[in-house]
C-alpha cells in the first residue's frame, strides 16, 4: 500500500521537477546561461495566475493562461534586461561573462522575490485545481489533479522532444549547443535561436509554476528553494543534458518521496543532496553530462 502510494506521489512530483528543470538545462545547453532567477520566474507565473483566476475573475483556465504568459514575459524581461546586456557589455571581460550572468540573475531573482512579496505578501497561495475530486487507484486515494499534472508534464516534455529532434528550428538549437560558431558561419542568426530558446524556457517555467501552485501551493519564500532544486537536478543529470535532467528529476523525486514516507518528512531533501555531493566527487559531469 505504502509502496503504491510512493510510486504514485513520487511520479507526480518527479514529473513536475522534470518540467521545471528541463527549461533550465536547455538554456544552459544552448546559450551557456545559468539562470538563478528560475524560481522567481516560476513564482511570478504562480502568483499572477492565482491573482488573475481570483481577483480578476478569469477563473481557473483563464488564470492558468495568464500565469503562463506572465512566466513567459518575465523570462523575456530576464533575457533582455539582465542577461543580454551583460553578455554584450564590452566592459566585462569575456572570461568573466558567465560569473556576471550568474550574479546578475541571482540578484534579479531576489528582486523578483522581494517585489512579489511586497505585492502579494509572503503568504503561500494555491491555484484551484483544473480538475477537482479524487480517484481510488488500488486503494490509494489520489487527487485527479495530481494525475493530470503528471500527464500534462509528460505531454509538454514530449512536445519539447519532438520540437528539438524533429524540426528544423529544434535541430538548429541543438547545433547551437554543440558549436555556436559553426552555426554562425552557416548563416544562422544566433540571437534568433537564443530568443527561441528563452521563449521555450519561459513557457515551460510558466507551466511549471502554475501547476506547482495548483498542486502544492507556492509562496514567495519558495523562490530560492525552487531555483536550488532545479539547479541540483540539472547538476546531477549533467549540465545541459535534457535527458540527464529527466533522469535526475526522477531520481531526486523518488528519493525525496521514499525518504518522506519511510524515514521522516523532515529529512526529505537530505539523501538527494548527499547523492549530489557524491556525484560531484565521482562523476563531476553528472549522470549523462557531456561537459
Amino acid at each position: 500500500m505504502t509502496a503504491l502510494q510512493i510510486l504514485i506521489d513520487g511520479f507526480a512530483i518527479s514529473a513536475l521537477y522534470a518540467l521545471a528543470a528541463v527549461g533550465f538545462t536547455l538554456i544552459f545547453g544552448v546559450s551557456g546561461v545559468l539562470n538563478l532567477s528560475h524560481g522567481g520566474i516560476m513564482l511570478v507565473a504562480a502568483l499572477i495566475g492565482w491573482w488573475a483566476a481570483g481577483d480578476l475573475g478569469l477563473g481557473v483556465y483563464g488564470g492558468t493562461l495568464v500565469g503562463i504568459l506572465a512566466g513567459l514575459l518575465t523570462a523575456y524581461l530576464t533575457y533582455f534586461v539582465v542577461v543580454r546586456p551583460i553578455q554584450r557589455s564590452r566592459k566585462i571581460p569575456r572570461e568573466e561573462t558567465e560569473i556576471f550572468v550568474l550574479t546578475g540573475t541571482l540578484l534579479w531573482g531576489i528582486m523578483i522575490q522581494v517585489g512579489m512579496a511586497a505585492l502579494f505578501s509572503d503568504n503561500p497561495v494555491t491555484m484551484r485545481p483544473l480538475i477537482r475530486g479524487v480517484v481510488d487507484i488500488f486503494g490509494v486515494r489520489t487527487p485527479k489533479n495530481e494525475i493530470m499534472i503528471a500527464v500534462v508534464c509528460w505531454v509538454v516534455i514530449g512536445l519539447l522532444w519532438l520540437l528539438i529532434n524533429r524540426t528544423r528550428v529544434g535541430k538548429s538549437m541543438l547545433a547551437a549547443s554543440i558549436n555556436p560558431r559553426g552555426l554562425t558561419l552557416l548563416g544562422f542568426d544566433l540571437s534568433r535561436i537564443y530568443f527561441l530558446v528563452w521563449s521555450i524556457y519561459g513557457t515551460l517555467a510558466g507551466i511549471a509554476g502554475v501547476l506547482l501552485a495548483s498542486f502544492l501551493g507556492v509562496g514567495t519564500a519558495n523562490a530560492g528553494q525552487l531555483t536550488a532544486s532545479a539547479f541540483s537536478i540539472v547538476v546531477l543529470g549533467g549540465l545541459g543534458s535534457v535527458s540527464g535532467s529527466l533522469l535526475a528529476a526522477f531520481v531526486v523525486g523518488y528519493l525525496e518521496t521514499i525518504t518522506a514516507y519511510l524515514l521522516n518528512p523532515t529529512l526529505r531533501p537530505i539523501p538527494a543532496l548527499l547523492l549530489l555531493v557524491l556525484v560531484v566527487y565521482l562523476r563531476p559531469q553528472g549522470l549523462l553530462g557531456r561537459r
Partner: protein, 420 residues
C-alpha cells in the same frame, strides 16, 4: 545691511518684518522646548510582507490615531514610527537600536515571530527600553524575565504564551470535540519552531487530561511543501482529530488536506487561518478548519472588539490578524502607563505597565508578576484572556468557543468522517 542714510520709515519697513519673524521663530523654539507639545514616540517593528506582521503596524497606527483624537496622553500626541524587519532577527535588532538611539522612542512594540522577539529581548534589557511583543508565543520570552528580572524586566509578552495557547486548545477540544463528538484520540502535528516546543510539551500534557489519547506526535520542517506523506501517516493511525501547531505554514497543508480528502478534522493553532485572506489564499479549501485566535469579526469579547474590527476592516479592507487586536491593545496599555507615570522614564513605565488592568479588544489584560512562572506575560483564564476558537464555514470565520461568546456551531464538511 542697514544703510546710515536710511530714513526712519524705511528703517521701520526693514526692521518690523524681521522682528516679527524673529519673534515668531523664538516663540516656536520655546514651544518646542516645552515637553508637553512633543509627541510621545512608539516604535513599531512589523513584518510588512506577511499578513500577520502587517496587521501589527496597521493596528498600531489606528490605536495612535484613536488616542490622539481623544486628546493624546497628558496633552501630548502619540506618534507611531514603523519599521519592517523582513521576518529577520538581525533586521529587527537593527530597527530596535535605531528606534532607541536615533528616533528616541519611549517604547517599542514588535513582531509576531518568537525567534525575532527573543532576539530583541536582550537589547530591550541592555538599552532599558520597554518592549512588548503582540504576537510571539514562546514561553522563553517570559521565562527570561522571570529568571533575571533586573536585566529583562523591560520586556512584556502581549500575547498568550505557547503553554497557554495549548491549554486553551485543550480546553476547547475537551468542551466540544470530546463532549459533543465523542472524540477519543488525536495526533499532534506541529512545525519545528521556537514557539511550538513549549506548545507541544503542553499539548502532550493537557490533551490526555482533556480526554484525548495522543497517538503520535509529528514535528516537521517549516520549509515542507508536500504534506502528503504526513497526512498519509496520520490517516494510517486513525485518530479522531488532528491537533495542529502551525504558523509559518498554513495554506499549503490546508489545501492538500482538502484536495486529498483527508477524512479527519483539523483543530488547534493555525495562525494563517486567523486572517480573513485565508479563504482566498486557499480557494475556499479552508472549509471546516478550526483554529484558536485572539478574537474574530462580529464577536463581542469586550465592548471594544466589534468597533475596532469594523473600523479596521473599513480602513484596510480585511480583518485584523490575531496580533492586530493585541497590538491595538498594547499601544493603549503603553499610553496608559505613560499617562499614569506622568513621564517617559523607562523604569516608571515598566512599573506602571506591571499594574495594567485594561479591558481591551481581546479581554481583560493583566500581566503576571515577578514571582509567577511567566513574568510579564498576559494572564490566561476566564474573565481575563482566553482567546476564541473559530471555524471556517462558507467563507466566514464562525466563533465556536468559548460557548458564551460563540455565534455558531461546529459543522464538518462531508469529506470529514471523523470525529462523529
Amino acid at each position: 545691511m542697514i544703510d546710515s542714510k536710511q530714513t526712519p520709515a524705511r528703517l521701520a519697513r526693514w526692521l518690523v518684518p524681521r522682528a516679527v519673524a524673529l519673534a515668531a521663530a523664538l516663540s516656536l523654539t520655546s514651544a518646542a522646548a516645552i515637553p508637553a507639545a512633543e509627541p510621545i514616540k512608539i516604535g513599531v517593528i512589523g513584518e510588512e510582507s506577511s499578513v500577520a506582521g502587517a496587521s501589527i503596524t496597521k493596528a498600531a497606527q489606528m490605536a495612535a490615531d484613536d488616542i490622539n483624537a481623544h486628546g493624546g496622553v497628558n496633552g501630548r500626541q502619540v506618534m507611531v514610527i514603523t519599521y519592517d524587519d523582513h521576518s529577520s532577527s538581525s533586521d529587527a535588532v537593527r530597527a530596535f537600536q535605531r528606534a532607541v538611539t536615533e528616533d528616541k522612542v519611549s517604547a517599542v512594540i514588535g513582531s509576531y515571530i518568537s525567534e525575532v522577539a527573543l532576539a530583541i529581548e536582550p537589547w530591550s534589557g541592555r538599552m532599558h527600553m520597554p518592549f512588548i511583543t503582540p504576537g510571539a508565543a514562546s514561553t522563553d520570552i517570559s521565562k527570561h524575565v522571570h529568571d533575571d528580572y533586573a536585566q529583562y524586566k523591560y520586556t512584556f509578552h502581549g500575547w498568550l504564551t505557547s503553554a497557554f495557547i495549548a491549554q486553551s486548545i485543550c480546553d476547547f477540544e475537551h468542551d466540544t470535540i470530546v463532549k459533543d463528538f465523542h472524540a477519543k484520540t488525536t495526533v499532534v502535528m506541529s512545525e519545528d519552531a521556537a514557539w511550538t516546543t513549549p506548545l507541544d510539551a503542553q499539548y502532550l500534557d493537557c490533551l490526555p487530561k482533556a480526554g484525548l489519547k495522543v497517538l503520535d506526535h509529528i514535528r516537521f520542517n517549516p520549509d515542507t511543501t508536500d504534506f502528503t506523506p504526513i497526512f498519509n501517516k496520520i490517516e494510517g493511525e486513525h485518530p479522531d482529530v488532528i491537533t495542529t501547531g502551525i504558523s509559518h505554514v498554513g495554506v499549503q497543508p490546508t489545501v492538500q488536506w482538502h484536495d486529498q480528502r483527508v477524512p479527519i478534522a483539523m483543530a488547534g493553532q493555525s495562525s494563517q487561518a486567523t486572517t480573513s485572506t485565508f479563504w482566498k489564499d486557499t480557494n475556499g479549501d479552508a472549509e471546516g478548519v478550526i483554529t484558536a485566535s485572539a478574537a474574530a469579526p462580529g464577536v463581542a469579547i469586550t465592548p471594544g472588539t466589534i468597533p475596532f474590527t469594523d473600523a479596521y476592516i473599513k480602513r484596510f479592507g480585511s480583518s485584523p490578524a490575531y496580533d492586530g487586536y493585541t497590538t491595538y491593545d498594547d499601544v493603549h496599555i503603553i499610553a496608559d502607563a505613560i499617562k499614569r507615570a506622568g513621564s517617559t522614564d523607562p523604569d516608571k513605565i515598566v512599573a506602571e505597565m506591571e499594574k495594567t488592568d485594561y479591558v481591551g479588544t481581546i479581554g481583560k489584560v493583566q500581566f503576571y508578576g515577578q514571582s509567577d512562572q511567566y513574568t510579564h506575560a498576559i494572564k490566561y483564564g476566564p474573565g481575563l484572556v482566553t482567546g476564541v476558537d473559530i471555524q471556517w464555514q462558507n467563507g466566514k470565520q464562525v466563533t465556536i468557543w468559548p460557548r458564551d461568546k460563540a455565534n455558531g456551531k461546529i459543522t464538518f464538511p462531508a469529506a470529514i468522517k471523523s470525529p462523529h
